[in-house]
Amino acid sequence: MSQTVSVGVVGPSHWAYMASVMAAKLQQMVDARRTIAGQIPVGVYRDAREFYKLVLEAAGDRTPANPPASINAYALAADAVRAVSADASRADVAATLGRQQALLDDLEQPRALSEEELRTLSSLHVFFLWLKREGESDAYERGVGYEVPVGFRTR
C-alpha cells in the first residue's frame, strides 16, 4: 500500500552535477565580466533552466502543474537564497530568483555585463555552488542510507 516516490520530487543530489558545471562556468563569466556564448554544455544549460522553471512555478501565486515537485524545488532554492540573506521573505526570494532566472535565460547572448548584472551573476554563481554542496551531501546521505530500526520512534 505504498508508493516509493512522489513523481518529480527529487533531492539536491539530482542537481549536483548540473550545479557543479554551472558553478564552474559562471565563475569564468564573473572573471571575464561578460556572458560567453557556447560556454555552458547544452544538456547542463537545459537542466539549469528546467530547475529554475520548476522553482518559479511555486514562487508565485499561481498553482504549479506538479505542486509537490515545484514546492520541493522551491524550498531548496529558497534555502539557497536564505543561506546568503537569512531573513529573506517569500517576496524577496521570488524577486531574487526571478532576477537570476532572467539572467540565466540570457546567458547565451554574448555581451559585457553591467554592475547590477554582475551582482546577479555572482549571486547565481553562489547559488549553484550552494546547490552543488547540498547535492553532494545529499548523495552521501542517500548512499550510506541510515535505516531506522523497527520500533524506533522517529518523531
Binding site: S2, G8, P41, A86, D87
Partner: protein, 429 residues
C-alpha cells in the same frame, strides 16, 4: 614505473573513473543474464531499457578515460560527472532486484497473468501498451514503483548523460528513444521486431507481500497498486490534474498563520517554507492513495474492500488521525472512503447488485446476500465518524497543520471521485 608526487596526490583526491567503468561493465553482465528462458517477456523488455542506458553510460566513461593520463587529476567537471554517472549505474543495479524477483520461481505466473489482464482491461494506453511486472517483496506490504517516472526524473538526466547534446532533442523520453535505437543497431531483424521500434512507454513494478504469495484472497490488493499506475499514466497524473491542484493547494501564507498562532510572531521564513512543503507533500500523498483506492474499488468491487479491510486490520488498530504524518490516510478514514464508493448509487452501487439476488430461488444465494448485507452494515457502523478523539494530542501545532492538510484533501476529494469515475475524457473504468 613509480608514480610521482603529483600523480599520488591525484590518485588520493579523485574518484576512480576505472572503478565506475568496472561497475558499468559489471551491471551489463548482470543484465545479460536476464533471458527469455528464465524470465517473463515483461522482465526482458524492461531489461532492454536498462541495458541501453547502461551501455551509453559505459561509452561515456570510456570517452572520459585517457590511457596516457591515468594518474592525472580529473578536472572539476569530470570529477562530478564520474560521480553522477556512478549514481546512475548504482540506481540501475538496484532495479535488478525487481527483475530477479519476478522470475516464475518466486512470483506465481497466475498473479502476473491476472494483473496483465486487469491492466489490459483498464489501463488507458494512448501512447502504447503498458508493462507491469509483479513480484513478491520481503516487507509485509504492497508497493507500486513508477519505473518510467523514476527513469525520467532520476536516471535520464540530460546534463549527466548528454551534456553536449549529441543525442539530439534533450528531453528524457527522446534521449531514451535514441539510446534504444542505438542499442538495437546490431540486433537481428527478429530481435528488433520482438523488441519494437521504441522502448516501452509505461513501465511499473507492482509488489505484493511475499508472505501472502499463496493467499488468493489477498490478490485484489494489487489493484490498488495498479490504481497508482493508472493514476500516473497521463501527464499530469489524474491526482494532480489542474482542478485537483487548485482545490488542494495550500498557500504558504496559511501555513505561516498557523505557525504564528502556536509559536508567536516572527517565525523564521525558512521554517514556514519547510512546514509548507511538508504539508503540501502530505496532501498529495493522501490524494494519490485515495485515487488508487477508488480505482481499485471500481476495478475489483467488494473483493477489494474485503481484502483491504482484512489487510489493514492485521497491521494496526485505528487510533490514527485522518492523515498520518506521512500523508497516508488513517485506516478508518480510507476504509470509510472505499466503503462509501462501493455503496454509492453513483459509484459501484454494490447494494443494488445484492438486491438483484435477494429474491433468488436458491436458498444458498439468499443466505449469502443476507450475510453480505449484514457484513456491510456492520462496516458502515464501524467506519462512521466519531466526534472526539479518545487520546489527548501531544502536538497542538502538528494537529493544526494536519487539520490544514485534511481540509485541503476534503476540498479536492470531489474532484478525485469525479476523475476516478470517468477520467477527464470519460474513458476510465
Amino acid at each position: 614505473m613509480p608514480l610521482d608526487a603529483a600523480q599520488i596526490t591525484s590518485l588520493a583526491a579523485s574518484p576512480s573513473l576505472g572503478a565506475v567503468t568496472y561497475q558499468a561493465a559489471s551491471l551489463l553482465r548482470q543484465l545479460a543474464r536476464i533471458n527469455d528462458q528464465e524470465y517473463l517477456s515483461e522482465a526482458c523488455q524492461i531489461k532492454e531499457a536498462f541495458e541501453c542506458i547502461a551501455e551509453h553510460v559505459l561509452d561515456q566513461l570510456w570517452e572520459m578515460h585517457a590511457p596516457d593520463q591515468l594518474f592525472e587529476a580529473l578536472d572539476d567537471s569530470d570529477f562530478s560527472r564520474t560521480q553522477a554517472l556512478g549514481r546512475i549505474i548504482h540506481q540501475l543495479h538496484s532495479f535488478l532486484r525487481y527483475l530477479w524477483a519476478s522470475s516464475p520461481r518466486q512470483s506465481p505466473p497466475g498473479i502476473q497473468s491476472a494483473l496483465k489482464l486487469l491492466t489490459k482491461l483498464h489501463f488507458p494506453c494512448p501512447n502504447g501498451d503498458p508493462i507491469c511486472l509483479v513480484r513478491p517483496q520481503w516487507k509485509y506490504n504492497l508497493t507500486y514503483v513508477p519505473m518510467t517516472a523514476i527513469l525520467r526524473s532520476n536516471v535520464l538526466l540530460p546534463s549527466v548523460l548528454d551534456p553536449n547534446g549529441t543525442l539530439g532533442p534533450s528531453d528524457p523520453d527522446s534521449m531514451l528513444l535514441e539510446l534504444w535505437r542505438r542499442h538495437l543497431t546490431d540486433a537481428s531483424e527478429d530481435e528488433r521486431k520482438k523488441l519494437g521500434a521504441a522502448p516501452p512507454p509505461h513501465v511499473a513494478i507492482l509488489s505484493f507481500a511475499g508472505l501472502d504469495t499463496d493467499d488468493t484472497l489477498s490478490y485484489p490488493l494489487l489493484a490498488h497498486e495498479l490504481g497508482h499506475f493508472i493514476d500516473l499514466s497521463p501527464l499530469p497524473p489524474l491526482s494532480s490534474s489542474p482542478n485537483v491542484n487548485n482545490a488542494a493547494l495550500i498557500p504558504e501564507e496559511e501555513v505561516r498563520k498557523v505557525l504564528e498562532q502556536y509559536r508567536g510572531p516572527n517565525v523564521p521564513a525558512r521554517d514556514v517554507t519547510a512546514s509548507h512543503k511538508a504539508t503540501v507533500d502530505r496532501v498529495f500523498v493522501a490524494l494519490r492513495e485515495i485515487m488508487a483506492d477508488l480505482l481499485a474499488t471500481r476495478m475489483m468491487g467488494f473483493g477489494y474492500f474485503a481484502a483491504h479491510s482484512e489487510f489493514l486490520k492485521i497491521l494496526a488498530a485505528w487510533p490514527q488521525p485522518t492523515l498520518t504524518p506521512s500523508g497516508y490516510p488513517g485506516i478508518k478514514y480510507r476504509l470509510g472512503l472505499v466503503l462509501e464508493h462501493l455503496l454509492d448509487p453513483d459509484g459501484c452501487d454494490f447494494r443494488s447488485f445484492l438486491k438483484q439476488h435477494a429474491a433468488a430461488s436458491e436458498p444458498v444465494v439468499r443466505t449469502i446476500v443476507e450475510g453480505l448485507d449484514l457484513y456491510l452494515s456492520s462496516w458502515e457502523k464501524r467506519v462512521a465518524p466519531v466526534a472526539t478523539p479518545s487520546v489527548a494530542s501531544t502536538s497542538p501545532l502538528g494537529d493544526a497543520l494536519n487539520q490544514l492538510a485534511v481540509a485541503a484533501v476534503d476540498k479536492a476529494h470531489g474532484e478525485i471521485v469525479k476523475l476516478a469515475k470517468g477520467g477527464p475524457s470519460g474513458t476510465l473504468l
